[in-house]
């Protein structure tokens, strides 16, 4: 029997909470803390951050006592394609415009699954873009630029 069997999930979990607590605590110290009577902007978050660190420490202590349980599958491919999709949309929606941006966003997200074939992805993204255009831009009239300034002027009708 190993003396230090740390449960992976709980160990990471504890580290995460302690790290986040530390972040908020440090940031709070940079703010005016004030007194209990007149609390400054840093008072309440500082208290919370300390509590978070303490809870993280308790989880860490518990993690040492328990046997390790496997974390299971991690959706690496999913994260690689799903998470950048909204970021890409944010980066390009003003420059490229709503229509090209949403098409590419859907296309990126499509590749998160190993089962998606390129042709299906293209067709799906195209249909989706048409639908989004009709619903959001045409019917609901959201004030999005359909084609942005990064594209040649003749497109921006």
């Amino acid at each position: 029997m190993k003396p230090f069997a740390i449960d992976t999930a709980n160990g990471i979990c504890a580290a995460l909470f302690i790290f986040l607590g530390g972040f908020f605590a440090l940031q709070s110290l940079g703010l005016e803390v004030g007194t209990a009577f007149r609390m400054g902007p840093g008072y309440f978050p500082l208290v919370l951050a300390i509590v978070l660190i303490l809870l993280g420490a308790i989880i860490l202590v518990q993690a040492v006592r328990f046997e390790s349980e496997p974390i299971g599958h991690i959706a690496w491919r999913g994260m690689l394609f799903i998470l950048p999709a909204p970021i890409f949309f944010g980066l390009t929606v003003r420059g490229l415009g709503f229509i090209p941006s949403i098409f590419l966003t859907a296309l990126i997200a499509s590749f998160a699954s190993g089962r998606m074939r390129p042709l299906t992805a293209l067709v799906l993204s195209a249909v989706l873009t048409l639908f989004a255009f009709l619903v959001f831009s045409y019917a609901l009239g959201l004030p999005f630029r359909r084609f942005g300034p990064w594209l040649p002027a003749w497109l921006a009708l």
Binding site: A9, N10, I12, L16, F17, L20, F24, Q27, L31, E32, A36, F37, R38, M39, G40, P41, Y43, F44, P45, L48, L52, L55, G56, I58, I59, I71, G72, H73, A75, R77, G78, M79, I82, L83, P84, A85, P86, I87, F89, G90, V93, R94, I102, T105, A106, A109, A112, S113, G114, R115, M116, T120, L124, L128, A132, F136, L140, L142, P143, F144
Partner: protein, 502 residues
């Protein structure tokens, strides 16, 4: 009768053509997304939330949101019965016997029983909300800052008690949620806090972005872990009408389920889930042949479905009267209210009677629409079940991106979606429940404001929370709840309950 006057106002608000239309759209959209496997009610609402903001009128938008909620719940029970895949833990209980009924060729009857039970429960609990909301509002109006603070503590502690898994982790999630909730400009001094110097976060993190990330995106990632074929063995659902024997057997469980659900739904922290489970246990205990449970007992569908719907409905009571969310869905409703410029709390009933009673009336109308629409449309929902998952999530991602962006046209909200999607997924992998985090996020600013106000009023004396009787009583409740969940016997029992539920 004041009650009748109020209900009349509510129904006249809810039955205007526009509001009926939005209620219908909400119910349809909610069911549509809710039947997509693996997407629970909370994720559905988080994803559809931005659409409701496109409607200028807060009343219509909240009515639609409520419609989405019932629709999503109904959709969740449909997937539970047809493919044994409950979208939300509250319909996990339905899956036990519902799926067995479907296997025995009685899918139609199971779906009809679920719908009828839900409708009955919905009708009763709508009246309960109408009866109990006004007196509670009157009490809540007496509340000062100290009482509010203590009340929110009760809400947060209960959400911890009802979360799955480790209590310490759930507590940590609440605290993290509170911290994330107070990101943004400090209301008293105007100092920006934790914004990392990004001006776009000065108004705080966008609630919709956090909800979509933690519930929507994280859920997609979880589903992508192991994609396997779903077997939909029921291609056609026939025999919708329950037999006379069915009606005889389901009447009592529906009534019992409604009572259990209504009582437990008011509890903060996810009463509907508990209600469904409690109802199943009760039905199994009173049944003459308990051996039938788990093999397709009608009572095992009728009871929990009624309980779950009644609980969902009565969980509006603390939300509407006190502004305290009883579950993550109510947290989403409160977030929606705040975005629409309504301050949740007891003043809503007085300042916006049309909104308050309109929502209550639309609950019943939404339930009626569900029963009328969904039984004939069941064929369509079954078809939706066969859509492969890899086609769904690009659509969901695209619409979530548009939706979140459309709330404030702030591109930083989209970066927040990605960040909270990652954080949400990471935390689920580390076996932390996201629901307490969202509750903390919504309550963070309110909690801080009331704490600071109470301390200023008491001139820095923290004993104010204990010397004011209502506040003291609430804190004692919070402490008792916390003490109970840490009791070894309860802790063990609690683990058993959640294991069985999973």
């Amino acid at each position: 009768m004041e009650l009748l006057d109020n209900l009349a106002l509510g129904f006249s608000t809810a039955t205007t053509l526009w509001n009926l239309l939005f209620c219908l759209i909400g119910v349809l959209l909610g069911t549509l997304i809710g039947v997509l496997p693996g997407i629970g009610a909370t994720a559905t609402i988080a994803m559809l939330l931005p659409i409701t903001f496109q409607i200028g009128d807060p009343v219509s938008s909240l009515i639609m949101l409520a419609g989405i909620y019932y629709g999503a719940q109904y959709g969740g029970s449909t997937t539970a019965i047809l493919i044994n895949m409950p979208g939300e833990s509250s319909s996990a209980v339905t899956a036990i016997d519902g799926y067995q009924m479907a296997k025995n060729g009685r899918a139609g009857a199971a779906l009809a029983i679920a719908a009828i039970g839900s409708f009955f429960a919905g009708t009763v609990s709508t009246f309960l909300v109408a009866i109990f909301a006004p007196p509670l509002t009157a009490i809540a109006l007496q509340f000062g800052a100290a009482e509010y603070f203590s009340l929110m503590i009760v809400g947060l502690v209960s959400s911890v008690a009802l979360a799955h898994g480790s209590i310490v982790k759930a507590l940590a999630m609440v605290v993290l949620g509170l911290l994330l909730g107070i990101v943004g400009t400090d209301i008293y001094t105007g100092t920006p806090r934790f914004t990392l110097g990004i001006r776009e976060y000065a108004d705080g993190l966008n609630f919709v972005a956090v909800a979509v990330g933690v519930f929507g995106v994280a859920e997609i990632l979880r589903n992508l872990e192991n994609e396997h074929e779903r077997s939909v063995m029921i291609r056609r659902v026939s025999g919708l009408m329950p037999t006379r024997e069915d009606f005889r057997r389901m009447a009592a469980p529906i009534v019992r389920g409604t009572i259990i659900g209504s009582a437990l739904g008011i509890l903060p922290g996810g009463g509907a889930i508990l209600a469904a489970f409690a109802s199943y246990t009760v039905e199994k205990r009173v049944s003459k042949n308990p051996g039938e449970f788990g093999k397709g007992a009608i009572e095992g569908v009728a009871g929990p479905e009624s309980a779950n719907n009644a609980g969902a409905q009565t969980s509006f009571i603390p939300m509407l009267t006190l502004g305290i969310p009883a579950n993550p869905v109510m947290a989403l409703m409160i977030g929606a209210m705040i975005i629409q410029g309504i301050v949740p709390g007891p003043n809503v009933a007085i300042e916006q009677p049309a909104l308050f009673w309109g929502i209550i009336a639309s609950m019943w109308i939404g339930n009626l629409m569900l029963i009328i629409l969904n039984l004939p449309l069941i064929g369509l929902w079954v078809k939706l079940l066969t859509i492969p998952y890899y086609v769904l999530f690009p659509i969901i991602m695209a619409f979530c991106s548009i939706g979140v962006y459309s709330v404030n046209t702030n591109i930083y909200d989209l970066y927040a979606v990605a960040f909270f999607g990652f954080l949400g997924y990471l935390l689920t992998k580390l076996r932390c429940e996201p629901a307490p985090l969202l509750l903390g996020f919504v309550l963070g600013p309110l909690l801080e404001e009331n704490l600071r106000r109470a301390m200023i009023l008491s001139r820095g004396d923290p004993s104010t929370f204990m010397t004011r009787p209502i506040s003291a009583g609430l804190l004692v409740i919070a402490l008792a709840v916390l003490a109970i969940v840490f009791l070894p016997a309860v802790k063990k029992k609690r683990e058993e309950v959640f294991v069985e539920e999973n």
